[in-house]
């Protein structure tokens, strides 16, 4: 006879799954593509396809089986690969046009593979250039507007900065134009939603668009992203209004513990059934457009009239930290980004606050200093200068570099739209009001390029 579970505990778990959208947000299969590398492009493509299909063939079916066995929904199934610039480097010849085409063909191949195995997204189309860009990095970056704009499931990233190397401002300057071109090259700029730039990225991130299979990981791994904010919003909303904040943090920790435990169980089982290693569990709260599944709403439940007002950064700090603490108590395999995401278009609370004018780009930037990622899913005017995009990126990466944390930027310049306009992508990506930006130029700062030096790590005042 197993340990007795009390009626109250059963009832609580039942409420979580039935009423509060408790689920497993993402299971992601990381695949090492280095064994597929070849100096012959056709061979590389053939091996890559074979490898992905062989590794992931059972993935979706097994995930469905486990979902049914435990009765907990698994919302998204993804694949991450070794960063494309690393995989492709050997197969590039030095003829820029031809090489760019090869990068695009490779993205199309990945898209087909993702379709065949039935995953939602495939991430890892990118590379690392915190300090300098290799020829392969440059070529893959140049290919991004076509590669991501014209494929459905391929997601891309670039790491442009780290606390050890500083910020590669040449790459930052370049990427502003890439994001603009990517936005122009897809319907309602949606391609830009599949591309993220990072400072200090993590190699075991199960979430898209920034997931990739890092070089420090095992051949194939399963990473899991836990449930969304709905469960926590209910918990916080159910607390007395005058409860002290340390008690609020305690309640959040306990809930994060429970959902992390369930997430790890599912991840371990899935890894076992596929015969691969369990990588990590990412305890990030990832909002969705479902009503109530909003980080903004959790902050409001803590006592803010609307997210974005004074106190929002402090409330988010409490939330992020308590989620991490609860998660780390629950599992020794906590990894990924692990905190709270604030993707504006995907989070009803945040999107409304932008519409109302309470939440601006500056407050969002402040909030990213304590959230787990950065400026995420922000629709900006279509006529935004590429130097302004680069400057927003530079600001965000500087926060990550100086504070030894991961930060990221996912901006979507929507052609033909002005600040305050509405754009709807539907589905997971949600709806957004175009965020007003500062009009004053950052041109000369961005045109300097070069390297923003790595920070000193003592005198941390």
């Amino acid at each position: 006879m197993p340990q007795t579970i009390s009626l109250e505990e059963v009832y609580e778990t039942y409420r979580m799954t039935e009423k509060e959208h408790f689920d497993i947000r993402a299971v992601t299969l990381g695949i090492n593509l280095l064994p597929s590398v070849s100096d012959d492009f056709a061979t590389l493509c053939r091996r890559t396809e074979k490898k992905i299909l062989a590794t992931a063939r059972q993935f979706v079916k097994r995930a469905e089986k486990i979902q049914s066995y435990y009765g907990i929904p698994i919302i998204n199934r993804r694949i991450t690969i070794t960063p494309a610039a690393v995989v492709l480097a050997g197969a590039l010849t030095g003829a820029a046009e031809q090489d760019r085409d090869r990068c695009i063909v490779f993205a199309q191949l990945l898209d087909r593979c993702a379709g065949k195995v039935g995953v939602d997204f495939l991430g890892g189309y990118g590379g690392f250039c915190e300090k300098g860009m290799t020829y392969a990095d440059q070529t893959v970056m140049d290919a991004i507007p076509a590669a991501l704009g014209e494929t459905e499931k391929v997601c891309g990233f670039f790491s442009l900065a780290s606390s050890k190397a500083g910020i590669n401002m040449r790459a930052v300057a370049k990427v502003g134009g890439i994001i603009r071109d990517l936005a122009m090259n897809s319907d309602k700029a949606i391609g830009a939603a599949k591309f993220v730039v990072f400072a200090n990225p993590v190699s075991d991130n199960p979430f898209m668009a920034g997931g990739y299979h890092g070089l420090q990981e095992a051949d194939n791994i399963i990473n899991v992203g836990i449930s969304g904010p709905g469960v926590l919003r209910r918990v916080v909303a159910g607390l007395p209004r005058d409860l002290a904040l340390d008690e609020v943090a305690e309640a959040i920790k306990k809930t994060a513990f429970k959902i992390t435990r369930a997430g790890e169980l599912i991840g371990q089982e899935l890894a076992r059934s596929l015969g691969v290693c369990f990588g990590s569990i990412d305890v990030s709260l990832a909002p969705t457009t479902a009503v109530g599944d909003s980080v903004g709403r959790i902050l409001e439940a803590m006592g803010l009239e609307r997210v974005g007002t004074h106190g929002s950064t402090a409330a988010l700090a409490l939330l992020t930290d308590a989620v991490k603490k609860g998660g780390m108590m629950a599992s020794s395999h906590v990894g990924g980004l692990s905190g709270a995401f604030i993707p504006v278009s995907e989070d009803v609370g945040l999107a409304e606050a932008v519409k109302a004018g309470t939440l601006g780009i500056d407050k969002l930037e402040a909030m990213t200093t304590v959230c787990s990622v950065g400026l995420d899913m922000i629709a900006v005017p279509g006529d935004t200068k590429t130097t302004t995009i680069s400057a927003i990126i530079a600001d965000e990466l500087a926060i990550g570099v100086m504070n030894n944390k991961t930060t990221a930027v996912r901006l979507i310049p929507v052609p033909g739209k002005k600040a305050g306009d509405y754009v709807s992508w539907g589905g997971l990506l949600g709806n957004a009001y175009i965020m007003p930006l500062h009009e004053e130029s950052s041109d000369y700062f961005i045109w300097r390029k070069g390297q923003l030096p790595a920070p000193v790590t003592s005198f941390r005042n």
Binding site: M1, P2, I5, Y69, Y70, I72, K258
Partner: protein, 95 residues
Amino acid sequence: MKSEEKNLAIVLVVGKDQTGIVAQVSDFLWKENINIEDINQKIMQGVFVMTMLVDMADARSDVGVVGPKLEKLGAEIGLSIQIQHHKIFEVMHRV
């Protein structure tokens, strides 16, 4: 033949107390070849709450399939009936 290893799940019934609840749920479980190991029930804040620990080792299907059927049965008799795998409770509620 009986399976050696148990595959435990918990059935939760919530709603207004009425006659025949145990009979109807047990009948359904029997037809699904699910064995009842333990039953616990109580009135919580005026609401009838019952949990059943069941073994699904020889069941015709798994939680994901039985769940919707139980919900349907619940709707017919005016109760909320859920089923969840025991392991979920174990990992969530025990340090």
